[in-house]
């Protein structure tokens, strides 16, 4: 067995690469705790799944970054981020000051500020992706389906050529670049507004 630290390092690298086994392992190890905590704090299992998955995406976004170092264990990180996300969600859902008392709890959050930063970065990215998707939805066919097939569904140019009835992958590629040019105009138009 590798040492835990080493192991976690590998695990994160695998996670960043979208490796399923690593994802399963992390999920298996850490979801239960978050689930238990969330249910004690007014959530349901469905909420726990939402929150935990969002935290995993935050971690995924960070792990993708090459110079990323986690200052605590994966479990601690996921738990802390999940908590923050849940509090934020509660805050959004209700203006009831009683539910805000956790803010004064102080807790063990010595990394709290760093996590807050991670979550903010994550939200900005989500907004950015949202705008991108809006642009994608407005671009019209066949560009919308073609770009989605390539970027979202990870299809090869060969598959796309076959699915969309292009005579060869080269033609599909040319079309893809045309679409990207259009998307660029649309997207940066949307952002400028």
């Amino acid at each position: 067995m590798q040492s835990p630290v080493n192991n976690e390092h590998h695990l994160l690298a695998a996670l960043a690469a979208g490796d399923r086994t690593a994802t399963e392992q992390i999920y298996q190890q850490h979801f239960k705790i978050v689930n238990g905590w969330l249910i004690k704090n007014g959530g349901t299992s469905a909420d726990a799944a939402d929150v935990f998955q969002e935290a995993m995406v935050v971690l995924f976004g960070k792990a993708e970054n090459e110079d990323f170092r986690l200052t605590c264990s994966i479990g601690t990180y996921l738990f802390a981020v999940s908590k923050r996300l849940w509090y934020k969600k509660l805050q959004r859902q209700s203006r009831d000051p009683v539910s805000l008392k956790y803010d004064t709890e102080g807790e063990e959050d010595e990394y709290g500020v760093a996590h807050e930063e991670d979550i903010n970065v994550h939200h900005e990215r989500e907004v950015h992706y949202e705008q991108l998707n809006t642009a994608l939805d407005q671009i019209g066919e066949p560009c919308r389906s073609l770009l989605k097939a390539f970027y979202h569904n990870d299809k090869s140019m060969q598959e796309i050529a076959a699915d969309f009835g292009y005579t060869n992958p080269e033609n599909a590629k040319t079309q893809k670049y045309k679409c990207l040019t259009r998307l660029r105009k649309l997207f940066y138009g949307v952002q400028a507004k």
Binding site: R20, E24, F31, E64, L132, D137, Y151
Partner: protein, 360 residues
């Protein structure tokens, strides 16, 4: 330029080109800006796609690890060959119980509406049964006996439908329409009838796409308040449905109890949700106001599992249909997410309606 940005990002740009690029980036500011726009665009597209796949994987991992052992379903007892067989069995069960109640209380005078309810169900069974042959002989005997018991009235099937676009495209379950219909009408919540025609359908997935004939028709004042989930959501998601099992709109709620549908059908969900005849084709909506699917079948009369075709299957039918433009006109902005349950229902009322099918 995008092509260059792409190979620049993937690191496949030849060294000479890279040098040239770098020197131009250093000297030409407006070129550098444009180039960075391209790089950002490609990077965002890739990042977004990667994240989407990661999220999908997470949901899948979650479902696999947290699959609630589903209670032994009573379907097993029937060991049915197909979905249709189960539907026959289920309908027979309902029919038999209805008939039993009726024969137990012969003194109670029946109203017309009760009669038509029975005939609707009988008709449903007959149609389902049409596809079944010798294997169903036993059941058929029961059915034909019962058919005699029910008075033949104006034969029609009813179901529920909901809008795909505000200008008249809508969806319902295919079995509501069937293959031998004469005409299809919808009756909206304000009691108006509109004629509709069939555009496309998938018998296998039990989806039919129709359009209201009337020109300049609109379901409601604004764009649709809901959006369509493009991928399947996980177990335990709370859902509700609106449908027309009777003349008035009926609300019921439940949750997703299993990721796949009948016999592991991946195009479906299994729901814990009370539903009855006439609710086929009803929208299944989650708390955020996303349409997750449409109701298609129930398994038996007591402790019923309800099955819904996923919105994913609906969307892929839209993509394959010749009326290619519908899928790009699907609503993109969700106006239900922040509303309470009652408000969501109110907003959806105009977009959910009864579908009435007249036979040849």
């Amino acid at each position: 330029m995008i092509e260059v940005a792409e190979s620049y990002l993937s690191g496949s740009l030849p060294e000479a080109d890279l040098k040239e690029l770098n020197s131009r980036l250093a000297s030409d500011v407006s070129f550098a800006n444009e180039f960075h726009e391209c790089v950002n665009l490609v990077r965002s597209l890739e990042g977004n796609g990667k994240q989407k796949r990661f999220r999908a994987m997470l949901r899948d991992v979650h479902e696999k690890q947290n699959a609630v052992p589903v209670k032994k379903t009573r379907l097993i007892n029937f060991t049915p060959q197909s979905w249709r067989t189960a539907a026959v069995a289920a309908s027979v069960a309902i029919l038999t119980s209805t008939i039993t109640i009726w024969s137990l209380k012969p003194s109670i005078k029946k109203t017309d509406s009760q009669y038509s309810t029975i005939s609707r169900e009988v008709e449903h069974i007959k149609r389902v049964q049409a596809g079944q042959q010798a294997e169903q002989n036993k059941l058929r005997d029961i059915i034909s006996k019962n058919t005699k018991a029910a008075p033949p009235s104006d034969v029609r099937y009813t179901g529920t439908g909901f809008a795909l676009t505000n200008d008249g495209y809508f969806v319902t379950a295919y079995h509501v329409i069937g293959s031998d219909f004469d005409s299809v009408y919808i009756q909206t919540h304000d009691g108006q009838y509109y004629k509709a025609f069939l555009l496309n359908y998938s018998k296998e997935n039990d989806i039919a796409i129709l359009k209201v004939e009337k020109k300049n028709f609109h379901f409601g004042k604004g764009e649709l308040p809901y959006t369509f989930a493009s991928s399947k959501v996980g177990l335990g998601a709370h859902i509700f449905t609106l449908g027309y099992p009777k003349e008035d709109l009926v609300y019921s709620e439940g949750y997703i109890s299993s990721k796949n549908g009948y016999q592991g059908n991946e195009q479906q969900y299994t729901l814990q949700l009370p539903a009855g005849h006439g609710q086929s084709g009803s929208p299944v909506v989650d708390e955020n106001g996303d349409i997750l699917g449409l109701l298609t079948a129930i398994s038996s009369q007591a402790e019923a599992n309800t099955y819904a075709v996923s919105s994913k299957a609906m969307i892929s039918l839209l993509h394959t249909s010749t009326a290619n433009d519908i899928s790009s006109h699907l609503p993109k902005v969700n106006r239900l997410g922040k509303l309470s349950g009652a408000e969501q229902v109110e907003k959806m009322e105009a977009y959910t309606f009864s579908v009435k099918v007249y036979k040849k």
